[in-house]
Structure formats: structure tokens, C-alpha cells
């Protein structure tokens, strides 16, 4: 046991408040500005004047210490391995942060005249060219801020494509192994979701798919390799079936890491794709965002992308924004997407190059298969779905045998792993595997780290057979012990803010 997280009992900023303390100051107002202020204040109707403001009062050192202590109670990829399946938690290069922190990125307004933002426009343009080469798509929109946001835009484009052909297609097909965002995004765009089952190989059941597809089907949303880490081997047939009714194929790019420079979604026949720049392209996840989920489309769908697109006029060597997009589905976000995230992505792609990206894919697949072959032999573990087939960048094992033999659940194993200094893998997903344990080591972990994770898991499983209670009550070495998540969400005990807390405490 070599891990011990900081365990501060850190009060809330409100509890740290010291009346009279201040952490900021402003320029002294000149007399003329002061007079203008008085006039303006007098103009405000009585009932619209702010009476009370419940913000705390702290000094700058108070604030820095508080947040520093909080940060020390937070696991991160910088601190250790983070094998969350389908999340591609790879190392986040610090070069990216440095180039993206330039004032030429941060201190630029999105509505500045075009001639003053040629750098931003060129970067967007050049990044788009790289992503086109990487995916085999014809155009990209950078507006979506996350994978799910891209999915929503993609679904709107699918709807609009069918409308442009004078038909109202209602059904979106989604495999039972899909990420939860897929059905949620399809529903947001107004589709009904029809679920296609996975077969005994863990792939889309093509015969069932054939039976489901009719003239009501707008398209299918697929992740390939899928969330079991298995490549959909019948992809050619799936494309034929969907395109056979003039449906569209949407590619969920969350698992693209395995295919970088090896296989292009466009070549497989996909029509729309989103990329998770905060996964595959190494930009940090920030504890839940900001990310970026640009979507790419094939030629026949370009007209439906939101405005504006970046264009280049060779003659004058000028980049410009084309807002004239009458057939567009409409904007999904203000301005041009999460620009500083795009700068980080661009730095990563330049740095890796084609040779590097291929090696990323191959290495991520190798580390995943290596770890899987070791883990599948452990007591309490089974490998569902065609165990002989190689997996790609991630794999899913079931801890159902462990549960049956010891009563220790996958969540207990996850918590106990935290005690060894590893973030837990994704658990209970995909839903088609009981006691699912989904591991994605990525290409940035060394063999020592991967073997260390394996050893930790082995120790935890051994302990579960020896002393199940010890595992069930884990973790012990984290900032707090096992959190009562049920209490947290129960209507009577739920505390979503300091305001509500104060009221409950009376």
C-alpha cells in the first residue's frame, strides 16, 4: 500500500469568510467617473436595487490555500494511471497548455473584425485540413463543446437530410452497447430510439438489424471499435443495410484512439463523425470539461453544417468566415466552439504527426490486449464475448464470478483500487455485461505502471476471497471514506447548495 491522499478537513469558502477581509482591489475612480456613477445609481428604481449579497469575504492567501488544499484532494492523470474505459485518459502534454495560454489565444474577442483574427482563422482552417485527412470526412464544424453536443448536431443533420428529401424519418437505431449519450442525443433531436442487440460475439446482430430496418429508419449511431473494445467486423454489411434505405451512419468518435492512422471512419462508409478532442487528442478533461466535440461530415451533408465555416482566399491570402448557409440546421453554440481547446489539439497533431498517431493507435491496442490477457486469468474474472478475439484500445471483463463466490461487487473492487493509487476503471458499463469492469490503459502508460495496476487488482481480488468485508468497506486511503451517495440524492437530505444547507440547519 503505497498511496495516501491528502485528508484536509477543509471548510467551505463561506465558513472561511472573515468579515472585512478582501482579495481584490480596483482602480480608484476619478472624480468625473464617481459623479457619473452617482447619477447612474440614482436612476435605478428602488425595487431593482440590490439589497443583500451573500458572498464570503476572504484574502488572496486564504483563497489560494483553500483551493490548493482542495486540489490536493483530487486524483488526476498527472498524478497517476486513470484507466477509465471509453474515456481515453492519456497524458496531457504540457506544451499544449503553454501554446494555448498565449494572449494571442486568450485575449481575442470572437467578434473582432476578420482582419484582426487571421491567426485564429488560419489555425481553425489548418486544423480542419488535418482532421479531414485523419477521418476521411469532407468538412468539419468546431461548434460542439463535447462529444454529446456533437452527437446532437449530428442527429439534427440526419433529420435535416431526410427532410431535404421530403420525408420525415422517425427512427434512430442504436446498439445496446452504445454510450448513454447516443440515445439521449437522438431523443433530443426528436427521434425515437430503436435498440439493436449485440450477438454472442459482442457485435451488432446483423440479422436482427436487417429485420429492423425499413423506410422509417433515419440512421444508426455506432461506436467502432464498440464499447466492448471489439471491432464491428460486419461493418461493411451494416453500411449496406443502412445505406440501402438511404439512411445515414453516425460514428461516435469516443473510441477512435485505436484506429488513428490505421482506419478512417470515412473509408468504412460513415457519413457523420464526432471527435472527442479531450480524449483522443490529449486535451485535459478539467474535472468534467471543457472539452470539444467537432463533427465531420461527407460532401452531401456539408450544406447542413451550422454557420460559419472558415474559408481561405488564396489570391489575397486571407481567411474569412462564411455565414451564408441557408440550408444549415442552425447554430448549436455561440461563436466558434472551444477555441483554446482546439489550439491544444492542433499542437498535439503537429507534434505526433502521421507516424506518431499510428503508433498511438498500435500502442494503445497493445497495452490493452496485454493487460487483458493477464487480467482474464485472475480468479473471479471472466472475459465475455468471443475471448479469442483481440480487443482494441479497451476491453471489458466481468467480475460476476467474484460476486457469486464472495459477495464482493465490482464497485467494491473499484473503491479498493483507489487505495493503491489507481483510479478505478469504468464500472457497470456497458450495460450488457454483468459486473462490468471496463479498462483502457492508453499508450501513455509504461509497462511498470500497467504491471503495477495489474498487481493491485490481483491483490484486491485475493483480498476479496480472504477478507471480503475489508474490500466492501474500502476505500481507506483517500481523502474521505466511502461516500453515502444514496443520502446525497434523497429529497429530504439532498443539499445542492450552501443556501439550502443553511436553511436545513435552521
Amino acid at each position: 500500500m503505497r498511496f495516501r491522499q491528502a485528508r484536509f478537513v477543509e471548510p467551505l469558502v463561506f465558513e472561511l469568510s472573515r468579515p472585512g477581509a478582501h482579495g481584490s482591489e480596483f482602480p480608484v475612480l476619478e472624480p468625473e467617473l464617481e459623479r457619473s456613477l452617482e447619477e447612474a445609481l440614482n436612476e435605478i428604481p428602488e425595487e431593482l436595487r440590490r439589497r443583500d449579497l451573500g458572498l464570503p469575504e476572504l484574502s488572496e492567501p486564504d483563497v489560494i490555500r483553500h483551493f490548493t488544499r482542495l486540489s490536493e484532494m483530487n486524483y488526476s492523470i498527472t498524478a497517476g494511471m486513470y484507466p477509465l474505459g471509453s474515456c481515453t485518459m492519456k497524458y496531457n502534454p504540457v506544451l499544449n497548455e503553454e501554446v494555448a495560454s498565449s494572449p494571442k489565444v486568450l485575449d481575442v474577442h470572437p467578434l473582432q473584425p476578420e482582419e484582426t483574427v487571421q491567426g485564429c482563422l488560419k489555425l481553425l482552417y489548418d486544423l480542419e485540413q488535418l482532421l479531414k485527412k485523419l477521418t476521411g470526412m469532407d468538412r468539419f464544424s468546431f461548434q460542439p463543446s463535447a462529444g454529446a453536443h456533437g452527437e446532437f448536431l449530428g442527429c439534427l443533420i440526419i433529420r435535416e437530410y431526410h427532410r431535404s428529401k421530403g420525408r420525415n424519418r422517425k427512427i434512430m437505431i442504436i446498439p445496446d452497447s452504445a454510450h448513454g449519450t447516443n440515445p439521449a442525443s437522438a431523443a433530443m433531436a426528436g427521434f425515437e430510439v430503436r435498440v439493436v442487440k449485440s450477438n454472442e460475439c459482442g457485435c451488432v446482430d446483423v440479422e436482427e438489424l436487417e429485420r429492423m430496418v425499413d423506410e422509417d429508419v433515419a440512421g444508426i449511431m455506432l461506436t467502432n471499435p464498440n464499447t466492448l473494445g471489439i471491432f464491428e467486423k460486419d461493418i461493411e454489411r451494416i453500411v449496406e443495410i443502412i445505406h440501402g434505405v438511404d439512411g445515414l451512419l453516425y460514428y461516435d468518435g469516443a473510441n477512435l484512439n485505436a484506429l488513428l492512422g490505421k482506419v478512417r471512419p470515412g473509408d468504412m462508409g460513415f457519413d457523420i463523425i464526432h471527435l472527442n478532442l479531450h480524449k483522443t487528442f490529449s486535451t485535459p478533461h478539467g474535472g468534467g470539461g471543457p472539452g470539444s466535440g467537432p463533427i465531420g461530415v461527407v460532401e452531401k451533408l456539408v450544406d447542413f453544417l451550422p454557420p460559419p465555416l472558415v474559408e481561405y482566399d488564396e489570391e489575397s491570402d486571407r481567411y474569412y468566415l462564411d455565414y451564408d448557409r441557408p440550408r444549415s440546421v442552425g447554430r448549436v453554440k455561440m461563436f466558434h466552439g472551444n477555441f483554446s481547446v482546439l489550439v491544444k489539439t492542433y499542437a498535439y497533431l503537429l507534434r505526433m504527426g502521421g507516424d506518431g498517431l499510428r503508433k498511438v493507435a498500435e500502442t494503445s491496442v497493445l497495452t490493452s490486449n496485454y493487460l487483458m490477457r493477464k487480467i482474464e486469468k485472475l480468479r473471479g474474472v471472466s472475459l465475455p464475448f468471443d475471448p479469442k478475439r483481440p480487443r482494441k484500445h479497451e476491453f471489458v471483463v466481468s467480475l460476476q464470478p467474484l460476486y457469486k463466490e464472495t459477495g464482493v461487487m465490482v464497485i467494491d473492487v473499484a473503491k479498493r483500487l483507489l487505495d493503491y493509487g489507481y483510479h478505478a476503471p469504468t464500472i457497470y458499463f456497458p450495460l450488457i455485461v454483468d459486473e462490468a469492469f471496463m479498462v483502457e490503459p492508453t499508450e501513455t502508460e509504461s509497462k511498470r505502471e500497467i504491471d503495477g495496476f495489474y498487481q493491485a487488482l490481483k491483490d484486491v481480488l485475493d483480498e476479496a476471497y480472504r477478507d471480503p468485508e475489508r474490500v466492501k468497506n474500502a476505500p481507506y486511503n483517500t481523502a474521505v471514506g466511502r461516500v453515502d451517495e444514496v443520502r446525497a440524492s434523497r429529497p429530504k437530505t439532498m443539499i445542492p447548495s450552501w443556501r439550502v444547507y443553511r436553511r436545513m440547519e435552521g
Binding site: Q5, V13, A21, G23, S24, F26, P27, A40, E43, E47, L48, L55, L58, F67, Y75, S76, M89, N92, K104, V108, H109, P110, L111, T116, G119, A146, C155, A184, M188, K262, D267, H285, G286, G287, G288, G289, V332, K333, G337, A347, L350, R351, M352, G353, G354, D355, G356, E362, V365, R389, P390, L418, A424, E443, K447, V480, V483, R487, S489, S497
Partner: protein
């Protein structure tokens, strides 16, 4: 060839050992299940480059930008130039926050969870509304989600929104609403910035899910009869949605006190750089009422306890609303959001605190009022266009001169003068939307006004 590929951790020996464990000779065997027609033989992509080269390439591209320092930006309209204290930058660049994932394992993620809980709590104080989620992508998407939420809660399909709204924000909200088939209609605003209540009444009936108002408006004015708007909405059982620029709320009454059921807004002014428009931060909150709470999209962090004892702890709550549990029945598809931006806002509000935040409002209000006053002294300029209290932004009109031409003249002098409203609203010909914040010195403002005077008075 032969260049070491960055960030890949395995040595050649380690690769060999791993291949052996897997029982293969070449990593390509792991791709053998992929139909060979899809496997690229040649990948057409530029080669890898060193850190030195990449840094230079990007610096060269970015050198084509002109940023704050090279230009004076008097422009807002959805992203605004504000000062960011150094302490905020220090806090959000801590890699423990920066490089963590969504806190699925709360025991190892208490830091980000508490910081996000503090964000929610600080915003709740500022807005005087009980619940604020842990962030949406931006104001516009928060608004789109608020419209959808109002429709779900009321079972109605019509939304009323103000005529003067950012065209981009309106478009995003409309795109979001399209999947549910909502009908968005604008209502009229009068020359004194208040809502035309007669017009509003004529549109209100029991088919209206929500009435939306902005505070301050897109054009920077405050509607003096905002409370009456909320009351009218409530009379027909519609929800009242208020959109805010939070920097105004040290001076102006909180939306929760004005009858808001749902509050949306933009968090960028509270410690986030403009970054050419992203990342921004969408604020979305509501009253603590079950029908609203259970329809609220997005991540929500709650305070709870550990199972074993009395230790305080934090975790994500009400996940049963979210896509990974509810799939197509979820309240929204949102998963990745703008968490780190929310941490920045928490740090910003903690630093400014009660007095600093009120002072921020005074600084902005003073400059707005001063600049409006100075411009109004120029003959041929009507400033402000609306006869109302303004905050941070205001529209002015130039007679006998084109707004486009004026903006060009300002730019020649290193000033981005604002947004040309004649391109956004037919009736606002030759009008400009200008923005002043605590960043602008009196001298900057005088310079701007001087150029307008010179140009307009010829």
C-alpha cells in the same frame, strides 16, 4: 524515420515483452479482424515534429492575431473583456484540477467536487436561487435547455422571448428547441427599455410554457417593469426565465427576488478569458421545487456524509436524470460540460467577495454612465438609444454617417468599437452596441469618444 515519438511510454524491450505475453509477433496481428480493405497502407499526414518546431509554428500562426494590448476592445455581445486576477489563473492551472476526469469516484475526487459545490453555492447566493447546476456550455445552450425544461415541466409548447436578443443566442435556443417542436415568438420592448406589457398580454395564454427576459438586455438596458413581466407569466401558469450577465448583480436586484423560476446566464465575465469565444460557461439554475429540480439538466453536486461516520463529503447527485442512466429518457444528453470554468468562477467570486463584487459593479456602471454621457454630448449622436438604466453595454446611433464607416475609422486607430447593429436589427440602422468594463481607463474612453466626435462632426 527513427524519430522518437513523444508521450508514448513503452520502450522497445517492453513492446517485445508485451507481444510475447499476448502471444503474437507483430502488433498488426491485433488488427487482423479488421477487413483488410479498410486498413490504410499509407497514411497521408504530415510527419511528427519536435517541441521546438511545433511551438514556433503555432506562435507564427497566432502572430497574425491582434489581441488586447494591441487593440482596445469595446466589444461584448456574449463574451466580454474583463480583468482576471492572477490568483484565478494560478488555481485553474493546477494540474490536479486540470487533468482530472468527471468525478465518478467521489472518494478520490473530493477536491473538484467541493470546488464545484462552491461554484453552485456562490452562484446560488448571487442569483438568490436555490439550485445551480455544475455548468452548461454557454449562455445560449443553457437557454435552449431552459426552454426545453420549461416545456417538459408545463407540457406546453410556446415560448415568448424579447425582440432584442443576441441573434446568435436566439439561433442556438431555436436549434435546441427544434427537436421538441417548440414555437418561439418574440414580444416587443419599448423605447424606455421596458417590456410592452400590452403586447405581452396579447400573446399570453395557457399554451405558453415560459416567458424569457434578459437582465440587462442584449443592448445593455434594464427593463424597469421586469417584475410585472414575471407576474404576467405566472398568471397563466407559465414559467419565468431570467437571463443574466452576472456582473450586474452587485448593483441590481437578484433574479430570484424578481420572481424567476429558472435563471440562465453567461459565466465568462467571472474570471474566464474570451479565448475567441470559447470555452465559455453556461449558468443554469432553478428554484428548489421537485418538478423543476427533476427536470433540470446537467451535473449537480451535493453535500453528503461518508457511510461510516460524520465526515462531510461531496458527490454527484440526481444522476437518475442523466444520460448514462436514463439514456433516451434523460433530461438532456449533456455529459462533458465546462467544469474547470466553474472552478475558475468559484475562485473569482471567492477573491472578489461581497465588497469586491459590489465594487466591480460600481466600476462598470461608472464607466458606462460616463461614456454614454460623453457620447451624448456630440451632436449627431444619440446615446443611449434606449432611455433606460444601462449596465456595461449600450447602443448608440450616429446620424449622417454610416456605423460601418465609423467602426472602420475606430479600427484604424486601434479601437474595436463594438457590434454593428444595423446588420442584426433592421430598425437599428447606423447603430452600434458598445461595451465598457473595469478594463477601460478614462483615457481609453475619452480617446474613443474623441474619434467619434471627430468623425461625426467632421
Amino acid at each position: 524515420m527513427g524519430r522518437e515519438i513523444p508521450y508514448i511510454a513503452l520502450t522497445e524491450n517492453e513492446v517485445e515483452e508485451m507481444l510475447e505475453e499476448v502471444g503474437i509477433k507483430d502488433v498488426d496481428e491485433l488488427y487482423s479482424d479488421i477487413p483488410s480493405k479498410y486498413l490504410l497502407e499509407r497514411f497521408d499526414f504530415p510527419p511528427s515534429r519536435s517541441e521546438i518546431e511545433v511551438k514556433k509554428m503555432i506562435e507564427e500562426i497566432l502572430s497574425r492575431n491582434r489581441c488586447v494590448g494591441e487593440l482596445k476592445l469595446f466589444i461584448g455581445g456574449g463574451a466580454w473583456p474583463h480583468y482576471i486576477p492572477s490568483a484565478v489563473k494560478e488555481i485553474v492551472s493546477r494540474s490536479e484540477f486540470l487533468t482530472s476526469y468527471t468525478p465518478y469516484q467521489p472518494e478520490a475526487s473530493q477536491g473538484i467536487l467541493q470546488a464545484l459545490f462552491e461554484y453552485q453555492s456562490l452562484l446560488a447566493e448571487l442569483l438568490e436561487i436555490d439550485v445551480v447546476n455544475a455548468s452548461m456550455y454557454d449562455w445560449a445552450t443553457a437557454l435552449g435547455e431552459a426552454f426545453r425544461m420549461a416545456a417538459r415541466v408545463t407540457g406546453r409548447r410556446r415560448i415568448l422571448y424579447p425582440h432584442y436578443i443576441s441573434p446568435q443566442r436566439r439561433e442556438v435556443a431555436s436549434t435546441y428547441s427544434s427537436g421538441m417542436g417548440l414555437r418561439l415568438e418574440d414580444y416587443m420592448q419599448l423605447e424606455d427599455g421596458s417590456v410592452d406589457l400590452e403586447d405581452l398580454k396579447s400573446r399570453l395564454d395557457r399554451g405558453v410554457a415560459a416567458v424569457y427576459i434578459e437582465y440587462p438586455s442584449y443592448l445593455g438596458f434594464i427593463a424597469k417593469n421586469i417584475k410585472a413581466v414575471g407576474e404576467l407569466a405566472h398568471e397563466v401558469g407559465a414559467l419565468f426565465i431570467v437571463g443574466v450577465d452576472p456582473t450586474a448583480l452587485g448593483i441590481f436586484e437578484a433574479p430570484g427576488k424578481l420572481g424567476a423560476d429558472i435563471v440562465v446566464g453567461e459565466g465568462q465575465p467571472l474570471g474566464l478569458p474570451m479565448s475567441f469565444g470559447g470555452p465559455l460557461l453556461g449558468i443554469l439554475g432553478c428554484r428548489l421545487e421537485p418538478r423543476l429540480l427533476h427536470s433540470l439538466p446537467g451535473r449537480l453536486i451535493g453535500m453528503t456524509k461518508t457511510l461510516r461516520g460524520d465526515e462531510r463529503a461531496y458527490c454527484m447527485v440526481l444522476q437518475s436524470r442523466e444520460q448514462h442512466i436514463k439514456r433516451e429518457k434523460a433530461t438532456s444528453n449533456i455529459c462533458t460540460n465546462q467544469a474547470l470554468c466553474a472552478v475558475a468562477v468559484a475562485a473569482y467570486l471567492s477573491l472578489l467577495g461581497k465588497n469586491g463584487f459590489i465594487e466591480l459593479g460600481r466600476q462598470i456602471l461608472a464607466r458606462t454612465s460616463y461614456m454614454v454621457g460623453k457620447l451624448s454630448e456630440i451632436s449627431g449622436v444619440r446615446a443611449p438609444l434606449f432611455d433606460a438604466p444601462h449596465f456595461k453595454e449600450f447602443a448608440y446611433r450616429v446620424d449622417r454617417y454610416s456605423s460601418r464607416e465609423l467602426l472602420r475609422k475606430l479600427l484604424e486607430n486601434g479601437i474595436v468599437g463594438g457590434i454593428d447593429l444595423s446588420r442584426e436589427f433592421n430598425e437599428l440602422d447606423n447603430s452600434i452596441l458598445t461595451c465598457v468594463t473595469e478594463m477601460h481607463s478614462k483615457r481609453d474612453i475619452d480617446e474613443y469618444v474623441g474619434i467619434v466626435k471627430e468623425v461625426v462632426e467632421g
